[in-house]
Structures are given as structure tokens and as C-alpha cells.
Amino acid sequence: MKYIPVIGLEIHAEMLTRSKVFCSCANEFGGDRNDRVCPRCSGMPGTLPVVNHDAVTLAAKAGIALGCTVNNYSAFDRKNYFYPDLPKAYQITQFEFPICTNGLVHVLDRDIRINRIHIEEDAGKLVHDDYEGISMADYNRCGVPLIEIVTEPDFRTVEEVQVFVEEIALRLKYAGVCDAKLEQGSLRVDVNISIMPFDSQEFGTRAEIKNLNSIKSIGRAIEYEIERQSELLDKGQKVVQETRRFNDNHGNTKALRSKEEAHDYRYFPEPDIPPVYITDEEISDIRALMPEMPQQRYMRYTNDYKLPADDAKLIIADKAFSDFYDSAVSVYPKFREISNLMLGEVNRNLNDTGKTIGDVPFSPEDIAETIKMTDDGKISKNAAKTIVKIMFESGGTPEKIAKDNDLIMQDNSDELEGIVEGVLSENEETVAAYKNGNEKLFGFFMGQVMAAAGKGTNPKLIKDILTKKLSNNQ
């Protein structure tokens, strides 16, 4: 490749607080237009913002999750611009003193530095009615708490960006900061990208790409930009510093506004909100309350539970799935067996039904019970799969499903003992040979007993009785 891309990210994440960041309106998704609006978040004259303490805590958690320093002092600023979806005509954000700085996230073979994480409020939405020729403002989203995560321009490949975004999304979910849904916009990624000649140290002029709502479109947009910028440089033209919008249908980017057209945001300290002070003690309290992060869970699965690395990654990739697994193994600690059933039969049924683990009609305890029944010899491994399938369809406990569907293996030990004794007395020479050390003959006895006992007999039971009788006779 003739050029190296230089990429940095700005990621906005909606935080999972109960109320908005500067008022007590509910922080929810959906609902009727303007049904979560009050004098504060609609910018009525005379109203004042009051910082939601939970938003500060969650932002600090995000910082800890991304290896940042949580600052003892942070402060809010105003970012001024006019737009009908911004009722105060300024956004309250943190400009000079962000809550978190200097993070580090390792992806693939690269260290990605996090420049900063700051708290800010979201704007509303405009709804355009082309038929009536009018635009309406919906302020439900006004004041929804966001963090903005700003990385250094440390990425050099598309894959690094994609893995990083997935990693950030995962960590924010585990930390309980954000549900991180790119498609719904609860996680929004802006890409800053420039290219420079292979042997250069000096970064080129960058373009900022907006409107990327999937990992795939992030990849496509970056690839398109690398090509576009390369063509410009090849022709001896210059890349213009501008904001561009990615069009998912056409797979290309279009200029939104150039640097000259960019707003002068006229930042200055927000006089209505006193600075935020967090003591070292409070920071360590928050740290202590941090839930287990994906990296830590990976270590637990691979070191303590001895799961294969790939299996561990697969489980962790979906927090709800992983939580479900943890609940199941907490009831019945057969780590590998439960992992196999979940990654196998449970996953297959999830894919077939289009469900997520959050809306299956059975509990982690039911999965644990299914494995336990297999171990106890009550059902066969195949029956366990059948039980999972039926639980997906209609719920119910594994025991009841097994009974109703004739999946319970017979416990006919007394009868079996007789059969075993019969087989052994009929084959005295073979028994002697076995006892002389020809252990392969065990299989012969198994086969004989199975044949005599008939189908539906638990092989484990036969094995146990045979082992007992063969050693007793000594």
C-alpha cells in the first residue's frame, strides 16, 4: 500500500441513568413525542441545570473501564450554536476539564490511547413532515446524558477500529454505563481519518465521517475514504478538512460542511453549575463497585473454569449470555458441560428462533438441571438436546419435559444384577481371561449385557454393576 491511514475516533455513548443529566425527566427510549420534557430540558427562561450524580458516577466507571485517570476536579462548559433541536442554543459539555483523561486500550497488536472522556447532554430531534412542509421539534432526547470518548489518532487499519469499537461497546455494557447499540444510536462513532505516504511521519489533512451505525458501515466508510483520499493525492490534489456523511445505501461519503463553514462554538465555563469534585476515596469506592469486566471474566473462564479460549470469548461477547452462563454454573459447577450445551444447543435454538437470551422462557437453573440429569444418568446426552429444544418452544422444567416425553432412562439395577450374573456365569473362561489382565474383554461383557437387557437401559448403570461384579468375584 502506498499510503498509511491514520485514524482516530470520537464515540458518543448514552448513559443508562434513570433520569436525564440536568433534570428529573425519565431517560428512556421511544414513547410519544415530547412526553418526557420539563421546563429545564426544554430551555424555558429562568431554569437552571442540576447535575445528576449518577451520570457523574457512570462516566467515572467508563473511565475506569477504559484505563483512564478519573480526575478529582472537572467542570462544565457551554458549547454555543443555534439549531432548533437545541432549545437553550448551547450544549452543556466538559471542554477544559473533562472527568477522565489518559486511558489505554490494547487491541490486536496496538495500544490505543484514550485522550479523554467527558460528560455532555444530548440534543433533541427534528421530525420533518414533507407532506405538510413543516418541521417539528421532539425534545425527548434533550438532556439525555452522554459521554464522549475521544481517542488519539492511533489506529492504522480498519480491523483495529472495528475490534476497538466492539471492545469499547462490550466494556461499557459490562460496566453498566451504556447498552451500546450502534443501530439504535445509543453508541455513535465518528471517524477522523487522514492518509500519509508510507515513508512519512507527518499526518495528512483529515476528514471526519459521521452517521456510522454498524461495525460494517464503519469498515466500509473507512475503506471508501482511504480510496477517495488516495485518489486525490495520486492526482496531486489536496484533501480538504471537512465533515462528511456516510451513505449506507451507496457506500460512499458526501461532504456536509467544510472547515470554513464549521461553527465557532465560543466555549466558556458554565456559570450555572459548580465544578465537580471527586475525592480519591470516592474514586476507590467507585472502583470497588465496578462489576467484573470482560477481560477479568475471560481470565476466570480460561484459568479457573478451564474453558477453551475461543469458547470463553464467544460466551463473553454477549453480556446477557455470559451472565446466564454464570448463573447456571453457580447452581451446578460443571463449567465445560454447561458451556458446551449453551454454545451448542442453546445457541442453535437462539439462532433458529431469532430470540436473545434475555427472552427465553427458561432459567439458568433449568440448564443446570438438564446437565445434572445427564450426569446422574437420568437422561442421555441426546435427550438433553431435546429438552433444550422443547424448553425453547414451550418452557417447562427439564424434569417434567423428560417425563412427558419418555426421556427418563430406566433404573432397573436389581434386574440388571441378575442379567450380569447370568452373563458372567455363562462365560467363566472369558472372565478368567479378563482377570488375568485382558481388560479389553470388558467391552465384550458390556455388549452381552446390553443385548440381554434391551434398549433404554442406562449404559452407565451396566458399567457400574459389571465393574463391581468383576472385582467382587476375585
Binding site: 421546563p39 430551555g43 427562561p45 429562568g46 431554569t47 437552571l48 442540576v50 454555543n80 465560543r266 456559570p271
Partner: protein, 478 residues
């Protein structure tokens, strides 16, 4: 009559709230056509308030302000009552919530007579920039009443209310109090909740009281101060008991007199009158202390940069989209917003928005806003230094007495410089009270200011009260 005496009269049934309210409404009808101190007169509401207040008094459940008729500056949000900021922009704006101070007044069943006139968005010192016409000075109707709380000051001076709530960003209570011969108290920043005060400059704005006496200002402050969950810039240090020092001897009180406040820019008559007041305090065995504020010459510039920057941002929400004036023309958002603002704001407001945005714009921020912030810090430090050697500070309230309308409104810089005596108090967030200390050769009132340490309103109220009790006040002519 003091509010305390009025309270006794109402509680002893010597006077009914209805009679009292009617008499004020009658006076307003008679005099306010000339004065123009009210934008909205709440006749019906006031009568209703009066009836409710009387019932409470009859049950023997009255509180300090029950049935006391007050006027409210028209930048304080009153639920269901038009709140205009004296601007075309908010000509028809009716808030659907009450400011915290209004909740406090309502919880005591005070009677609200109306909303007082002011400079548009509290920007001005003459009450001539109002969309609803200029306010006249009750001592001489050719003269301005000062501003921006000119309507509030005039309403008190002319007896059109028992007391008034105003707001003070750079002198907007004290200077009109001085011009209209009444007492004006600007409390320490963070003493009274700003929730519901339509912001001019958030870090400087403070609601305060205009009344007939220092004692009356403290009487009202006792009822409306306090930490507010809705305004996190309010302070738990605001202590209450603002009348606790009244009647204390002034013996040993150290009064700082910073020489820069008595420069050539201050009219001789004003200087003489304030120095005579100093002599009065000395005669009461107070101690006069020479002091100095070297940064005073930079104060007005710093004040106008900071206040205009904040104002530019605070007033950006008036875009015609949600409430307020919306232009009939404009095909795009940008056109609609700029046409609405062009039509809705007056010249002075536009001037400050331009100044503020310029001071904040990239490339100029360090030179203007940042430097102004440095001066702000310097002035606060200098106050701390002065207060190391004294208990209160005495200065003139304004360089001159009330001037004729039209005299200097067309010279903004001259207008701005006239704020020299008051702005440092807002810059440092301190409390100050202005009271009348004399009259000039035209019988116009002269005001002096007593500045206190943060949250020590009680001391300046008691010193002003002592002075007032020995001072012969002249009544307004109207």
C-alpha cells in the same frame, strides 16, 4: 410605615389586607400612568391574594409576609402571569412555573401587585431601554429612575407597593435605589435562589430587595433566602437572621474607605455627601480605615466582557422556535431565527450580544474573556485584602444623581463607565446595600453603598439602619 409595623397593624386587624391592597391599586392607577413603573398590574390576582391572606390572618396563622403588597421585577418568572423582561421578544410570554422566590412569597400569602418595568433583559442603568417605554423618576419625572430595576425603585419611592423584588447584575438594584431615594439590598451571590430569574449574566445575577428602609430589606430577605435544590449556585452559608444586628452600637465598627471610589469621575456633591455620612459613622465611634482597590480602573471592562459573554449565551435560547416573538418571515431555520431575533431584541441587547460573542470567539477568547476572568480574581483578592483591615466598606453608589432622560443613552461607553461604583461587588459576589445619604442642589437623592463580607448582610443592614434612623428623608414629589 415599616413592614414590621404593617405586620402588626394587619395582625391586630387595625387594617385589612383588602383595604391595604385597594389603596395601593388606587395609587397605582393614579400615579403609574405618569411613572410607568409597572408593565403588568395584577389587579384581579392581587384582590384574590388579599382575600386569601386575610382569611389566614383571621385564623391567626399569618407569617411575616402574609398580606404584604409587593411588586416583582418583570424578569422573575410568575406562573400564569406575563413575564416580559421588558422585551418585545417576551411580549406575550406566560411562564408555566414559578421562580423559587415566588414559591416562597406565595407560601406566605404575600400579595403581588404587579410586574415592574426595567431595562430590556436588565441591560441598562436608566430603565429607558424597555420595550414598554421609559420609567420616570418620582423625584423629577424628567429624570431617569436608574436601572435596570428602575420600575421597582420607582414603585417603592412613589408608594406604589410596600416593597419590591429586583435583580442586580452590576448595580441594577443599588443604583436605581440611589436615584429614587430608597434602600436597595443586593445579597451575597448564592443567598437567594436564581431559579426562575430570567438570566442576564448567571455568575453575577442576584435577586434582591428594594424597600423604604434597610430594616425592611432584611425583613424580606429573612423570608426568601436559602439553599435551593433547583439552583446549585445557592449556598448553605446563607445564614438568615438578617435583622439580628439591628440596634447594635456602631462603636468599634471598622469602615474601609477605598480611595479609588472617590476619584474625579465622581460628582463633588456625591463625594461630599458620602464623606458626610462617613463623618456620621465616626461620630458613632466607628473607625474609618483608609483602603485601596488598585484594580478598580479595570473593573468596568472586565464586568462588561464577562456579563456580555454570559448574556450572549443566555439570550441565545430566544430564537422564536419555542416561545416568544417569532418572525413572520424566513424560509430556513437560520433565517427564521435571525429574523425573530432582529425583530425581538432592542439595540442595547443586540449590542451586548455582539460584544459577548466577539469576546468569546476563537482567537479573541484569551485576550478578552480570559483576561477579564483574571481581573475578576484580582478584584476578589483585593476585597479580601481590604476586609482584612475592616468590617464593612463605604462607597458612593453612583458617580452622579439621576440625570435627565435622553442625556447619555446614546453614548454606551459613558453609560457603562457610570457603573464603576457598583460592578466590583457583583464581580466578587459580595453583599451591598445602598441607602440615601443626601440630596443634591436639585433635590435629587444621593446614595451611598455599604459593602459587607460574604454572607454578612446583617452587619451592613444594621449600619444602614443606624444611619437611616438619624437621617431626614425627603419624600418624592409625585
Amino acid at each position: 410605615m415599616s413592614l414590621k409595623d404593617l405586620r402588626e397593624k394587619l395582625d391586630s386587624h387595625d387594617l385589612s389586607v383588602q383595604e391595604l391592597t385597594e389603596s395601593y391599586l388606587k395609587k397605582i392607577k393614579k400615579k403609574d400612568k405618569t411613572l410607568n413603573s409597572y408593565i403588568t398590574i395584577c389587579e384581579e390576582e392581587a384582590k384574590k391574594d388579599a382575600k386569601a391572606a386575610q382569611e389566614i390572618i383571621d385564623k391567626g396563622q399569618s407569617k411575616a409576609l402574609t398580606g404584604i403588597p409587593l411588586s416583582i421585577k418583570d424578569n422573575i418568572c410568575t406562573k400564569g402571569i406575563k413575564t416580559t423582561c421588558a422585551s418585545k421578544m417576551l411580549d406575550d410570554f406566560v411562564p408555566f412555573y414559578d421562580a423559587t422566590v415566588m414559591e416562597k412569597l406565595n407560601s406566605e400569602n404575600a400579595v403581588i401587585l404587579g410586574k415592574t418595568n426595567m431595562d430590556e433583559f436588565a441591560m441598562g442603568a436608566s430603565s429607558c431601554t424597555s420595550y414598554f417605554g421609559r420609567v420616570k423618576n418620582p423625584y423629577n419625572t424628567d429624570c431617569v429612575p436608574g436601572g435596570s430595576s428602575g420600575g421597582a425603585a420607582a414603585s417603592v419611592a412613589a408608594g406604589l407597593c410596600a416593597a419590591a423584588l429586583g435583580s442586580d447584575t452590576g448595580g441594577s438594584i443599588r443604583q436605581p435605589a440611589s436615584f429614587c431615594g430608597v434602600t436597595g439590598l443586593k445579597p451575597t451571590y448564592g443567598t437567594i435562589s436564581r431559579y426562575g430569574l430570567i438570566a442576564f449574566a448567571s455568575s453575577l445575577d442576584q435577586i434582591g430587595i428594594l424597600a423604604n428602609s434597610a430594616e425592611d430589606t432584611g425583613y424580606i430577605l429573612n423570608e426568601i433566602y436559602g439553599y435551593d435544590l433547583n439552583d446549585r449556585t445557592t449556598s448553605k452559608k446563607a445564614a438568615g437572621n438578617y435583622l439580628s444586628k439591628i440596634g447594635n452600637s456602631l462603636k468599634g465598627l471598622r469602615i474601609g474607605i477605598p480611595k479609588e471610589f472617590f476619584s474625579d469621575e465622581i460628582a463633588d456633591e456625591v463625594k461630599q455627601s458620602v464623606m458626610a455620612a462617613a463623618e456620621y459613622f465616626r461620630s458613632c465611634k466607628a473607625e474609618l480605615v483608609d483602603s485601596s482597590m488598585p484594580s478598580l480602573p479595570y473593573a468596568v471592562s472586565a464586568y462588561y466582557l464577562i456579563s456580555s459573554a454570559e448574556a450572549a449565551s443566555n439570550l441565545a435560547r430566544f430564537d422564536g422556535i419555542k416561545y416568544g416573538h417569532r418572525s413572520d418571515t424566513g424560509d430556513t431555520y437560520n433565517e427564521l431565527i435571525s429574523n425573530s431575533r432582529r425583530e425581538g431584541f432592542g439595540d442595547e441587547v443586540k449590542r451586548r450580544i455582539l460584544l459577548g460573542n466577539y469576546a468569546l470567539s476563537s482567537g479573541y477568547y484569551d485576550a478578552y474573556y480570559k483576561n477579564a476572568s483574571r481581573i475578576r480574581k484580582k478584584i476578589s483578592d483585593e476585597y479580601a485584602q481590604i476586609f482584612a483591615g475592616c468590617d464593612i466598606i463605604l462607597t458612593p453608589t453612583a458617580p452622579t444623581t439621576a440625570y435627565k432622560a435622553g442625556y447619555q443613552e446614546n453614548d454606551p461607553v459613558k453609560m457603562y463607565l457610570a457603573d464603576i461604583c457598583t460592578v466590583t461587588v457583583n464581580i466578587a459576589g459580595l453583599p451591598a446595600i445602598s441607602t440615601t445619604c443626601g440630596y443634591d442642589s436639585n433635590n435629587m437623592p444621593i446614595g451611598m453603598s455599604l459593602i459587607g463580607k460574604a454572607f454578612d448582610e446583617a452587619t451592613i443592614i444594621s449600619a444602614a439602619d443606624a444611619f437611616e434612623k438619624d437621617f431626614a428623608k425627603k419624600e418624592a414629589v409625585i
